[in-house]
């Protein structure tokens, strides 16, 4: 099984006021990953009681989640605690982060179960 990977990320954000004022920020980078054991991706139903997106990695992880639900938001948090929220995703919204720690990433639906699109990839000590 493949153990070595290249991860590429590119993000473009823009905010615009009704006055016409607008600002934009972009970024992109790559990570060379060696000896990786956890690569998870796909779609997942997230329960109101919380669903694990990624179990504890050895060194860290890159994580992306997109809320595919039409109505309800979902909270992405660490250590199964919504008060430690990384993201609160309304329908259609997504987030991306890099965490160099061994914490578990959870998703917690608010009103009813929601489906999310996601990836969670372990990164090595040098990434």
């Amino acid at each position: 099984m493949a153990k070595n990977y290249t991860f590429n990320a590119s993000i473009n954000c823009s905010a615009t006021s009704s006055t016409g004022y607008s600002q934009n920020q972009t970024g992109s980078f790559s990570l060379n990953l060696t000896g990786i054991d956890q690569v998870q991706t796909g779609r997942l139903d997230v329960a109101t009681g919380g669903t694990v997106i990624m179990a504890a990695p050895t060194y860290g992880k890159v994580v992306y989640v997109r809320n595919l639900d039409d109505t309800n938001f979902v909270t992405i948090s660490m250590v199964d605690d919504a008060d430690n929220a990384i993201a609160i995703l309304e329908p259609g919204e997504w987030f991306f982060t890099i965490l160099r720690d061994t914490g578990v990433i959870d998703a917690i639906a608010d009103t009813a179960a929601v489906t999310v699109e996601y990836f969670a990839v372990e990164i090595d000590a040098n990434a």
Binding site: I11, C13, G60, F95
Partner: protein, 138 residues
């Protein structure tokens, strides 16, 4: 009384390729928010994240939810980002090495008191660039 109305668009491209050149996954998400007619601010700029922690100036931000993009534009050390009023454990929302960036719709007020973002550089002060815009409440 005047009001401020903002919209926010976030687009991304993410892919993972294995050592034999096979694409494991590729995602290109995008969304544009509904117009937020209760917005209070749209911030962008460059900030020197300090080793003891420093806060992005968000005095007038709506603290329920904000769109946050941050990029480490320095060349030496990682920068951690957290909601300044998050709980005492597992604070960190991202750990950015030089050149890396992240985006999230985040809550600044997880413990009911906060309204700012804390950035902490390791070893020596590091420059970051950011874009922060009020989001509609969840």
């Amino acid at each position: 009384m005047a009001t401020m109305a903002t919209t926010f668009t976030a687009s991304g491209s993410f892919s993972l390729t294995d050592e034999s050149g096979t694409t494991v996954f590729s995602y290109s998400p995008t969304f544009t928010s509904s117009q937020n007619t209760t917005a209070q601010t749209l911030y962008t700029g460059e900030h020197l994240a300090q080793t003891g922690g420093s806060e992005l100036a968000l005095a007038d931000v709506n603290d329920d939810r904000v769109y946050v993009f941050i990029k480490n534009v320095d060349s030496d050390y990682p920068v951690e980002v957290e909601a300044s009023a998050a709980e005492s454990s597992a604070l960190e929302m991202v750990d950015l090495k030089p050149g890396e960036c992240f985006f999230t719709p985040m809550e600044l007020n997880s413990d009911g008191t906060g309204s700012s973002i804390k950035v902490t550089a390791s070893t020596a002060d590091q420059r970051i660039q950011y874009l922060i815009c009020d989001a509609l409440d969840n």
